[in-house]
Amino acid sequence: MSKMPSSPPEGGQELGADTMDLLRFATIGSVDDGKSTLIGRLLFDTLQLFDDQVDAISTASERRGLGEVDLSFVTDGLRAEREQGITIDVAYRYAATPHRKFVIADCPGHLQYTRNMATGASTADLALVLVDATAGLREQTRRHICIAALLGVDQLVVCANKMDLMDWDKSAYQGIVDEMGSLAHTLGVSSCTVIPISALNGDNVVERSDAAPWYDGPTVLDALESAQVGGWASQHGLRQGNGGRLPVQWVLRQPGGGRSYAGMVNGGPFRTGDPVIVLPQGQYTTVRAIETADGPLPRAEVGLSISMKLADEIDISRGDLISSLEEPPTVTDNFEATVCWFHERPLVAGDRMKLKHTTRVTPVVVESIEGTFDVNELTMQAASELKENDIGVVRLRTATPLALDSYQTDRITGSFVLIDELTIATVAAGMAGRPTLHH
């Protein structure tokens, strides 16, 4: 690539700046509990909206005969969403305060759009849960919390919304605190903060409200600014162990002969000279070099796209996985997994589909349905099928063995999607292993 004619300074101090971090969060909860309004309020009150965007939502609100500006229009940008006042699909928004950058996934609440909520939550560090305080925790809210927890989101900021309609009654708030406490404990969520708010009026969103003098906890923004960040972990896989993994995406042929294997590092790091094993073949070799377009590196960190040269000539294709020798993944073609099923047609034993795991797509058959997850009782129930939006445990058998980790130790090598062969739609999100519950 040709460069700027005059080289600009290399950014000076900014390149080393360590003062900002990145939090990815998703809004979850039932329809009409106020998720999009809260995000609109949060962005409006922190002055993240451009003047022309504020003008546009004011005009759009007026044209629909709404008495005041509808803040949900900040993220509900589709024609059908504004017409019905609902969210259909995830909107991604980007925001920054002096301390932190945020990637916000504003998710839909409708049962029929659960697949879109799962999409938004799958890369989140934190879930901002909206609960309508006038109605309490609905089944759909519990479903969303269960899915988020299974996906590995272990921080919840729960907004007890519409407290203005409850005259800021502390007992309504306390009821949600009690119910959330037990839910979070059973699901193994490590932190859960409940905040009484009015998204519509902005109470306790950015500004502390004096409507609830009995509450002395954080505002929503305080909670978001002080939450644990793990931007890399949620995006690139949380590994409890130290073992590196490189799912091979593409084989790069080197000028003058030889090959390097391109992919994104998960876990790790890998270092030059590390002994590695190529899976599922099970062949041993060592890392000869780690290459990037900017030159070779002595070590490759988690989340980095690289290409790797190996010491020995081995037949390696897209879909294979290069692993460090410590704690390699299990190679298996028959395993248990937790799945969220998204198709109208129920999932039953004997169903045949395609499965995509890391960079490999392989035929798969459902050997058995082990049970469905009851989001109200938080228990597994015997079942012979998974209905649309059910969470369940199944046993799968694949045509090609997979190098699989449990989802709880690795979001990348422990996850997969199922693909319907006829419609080629993505019909399920899968996580290797069973959910862990703490009753």
């Binding site: 990145l22 009150d45 980007y94 932190s191 391109a262 693909i419």
Partner: protein
């Protein structure tokens, strides 16, 4: 576990920052690069790495991919990333420019130089050819050809049997784009159906299509305008000169500054003025407005973008002003 307790990491920072904050202030902390906590890589490293991952994934899973290149800054970044993804090899797919015929000459010269520098094959699909073949009605010599591009683009995709097209669109650009998947499915009519998008979890980009259908792939989805400029600075990516402050004759129309050219001349009470301007986006010359700006370097632009109170497209794009859901309507038809 105590649900009322605040989060484990709560510290004095969250208290001192309780006042409303203004993102638009050009203070150092806003333009600073982000280094996610506890991670050895910076924010731009992670954005670059994910974009390269997406490009490799789509290139591997599709039969006939193509990269859509307009000569604008986002497509410049996209081309740069595609080159990085396959080094030391060449980009394993061609580059397609949908040419409205209403071009800034600097942009065409830039396009040819960049594509040649990368050793890529350039395909130009011309809106004029679609008009000449009677595929679309001729709106007249000076009218916008923005919407006509869709037909030209879809015809080119069919003619070359492309099954995946990379685009430089970003989610922070527009409220419809904010809703779109990284891999966005198009039916055999080229249409986007925002109500039936595929679930897209983790980094599992599922790119299967059937004959006649295709994907749009947006590796820059998570970049913001500021990220793009910081990345351009870091990678020293060359851009068409019109992105930097220069003097040119303009007329003010509908609150936008349009360059006087063979297609745009003063109407009614409009007067031509010589102004110091630059472009924040590059599109059809009849619809893309300039902004008054003295920003002559990348550094100046990063400061300017950080302080702006007007969004990138809001300031400069007449094509977004046709209606409230202008971008969604065009995307449904198969637009970029």
């Amino acid at each position: 576990m105590d649900s009322t307790a605040t989060l484990g990491s709560a510290d004095s920072r969250s208290v001192s920052s309780a006042a409303p904050r203004r993102a638009g202030q050009p203070d150092a902390s806003v333009t600073a690069l982000v280094r996610p906590f506890g991670h050895p890589l910076g924010h731009l490293d992670l954005l670059e790495s994910l974009a390269i991952f997406i490009i490799r994934e789509v290139a591997a899973e599709s039969e006939r991919p193509v990269l859509l290149f307009s000569g604008g800054k986002d497509s410049a970044v996209l081309l740069h990333l595609a080159a990085k993804a396959f080094k030391p090899g060449k980009i394993p797919f061609p580059v397609l420019h949908v040419d409205t015929g209403h071009n800034f000459p600097e942009v065409l010269a830039y396009r040819d130089a960049q594509v040649e520098a990368e050793g890529a094959r350039l395909i130009v699909a011309k809106v004029q050819d679609s008009i000449d073949r009677g595929r679309v009605a001729d709106p007249g010599p000076v009218a916008s050809r923005n919407r006509l591009q869709t037909t030209t683009l879809l015809d080119a995709i069919r003619e070359h049997r492309f099954d995946a097209a990379f685009g430089g669109a970003r989610r922070d650009e527009d409220k419809a784009r904010a809703k779109e998947r990284v891999l966005s499915f198009r039916d055999s009519f080229g249409q986007w159906d925002p109500k039936r998008q595929r679930p897209e979890l983790w980094q599992l980009y599922q790119g299967s299509v059937r004959p006649g259908e295709h994907l749009r792939a947006f590796p820059l989805s998570d970049f913001t305008e500021l990220d793009v400029w910081q990345y351009i600075r870091r990678e020293r990516i060359a851009l068409p000169s019109i992105y930097y402050a220069h003097s040119r004759p303009v007329v003010e129309r509908d609150g936008m500054l349009l360059a006087v050219s063979e297609w745009v001349s003063p109407e009614g009470s409009e007067v031509t003025e010589e102004a110091i301007v630059r472009y924040r986006t590059v599109g059809d010359a009849t619809l893309t407005g300039a902004v008054r700006s003295e920003a002559a370097t990348v550094e100046d632009i990063i400061r300017e973008v950080s302080a702006s109170r007007i969004s990138e497209r809001g300031a400069t794009r007449g094509d977004d002003r046709f209606s409230e859901t202008s971008m969604e309507d065009r995307k449904r038809e198969g637009y970029f």
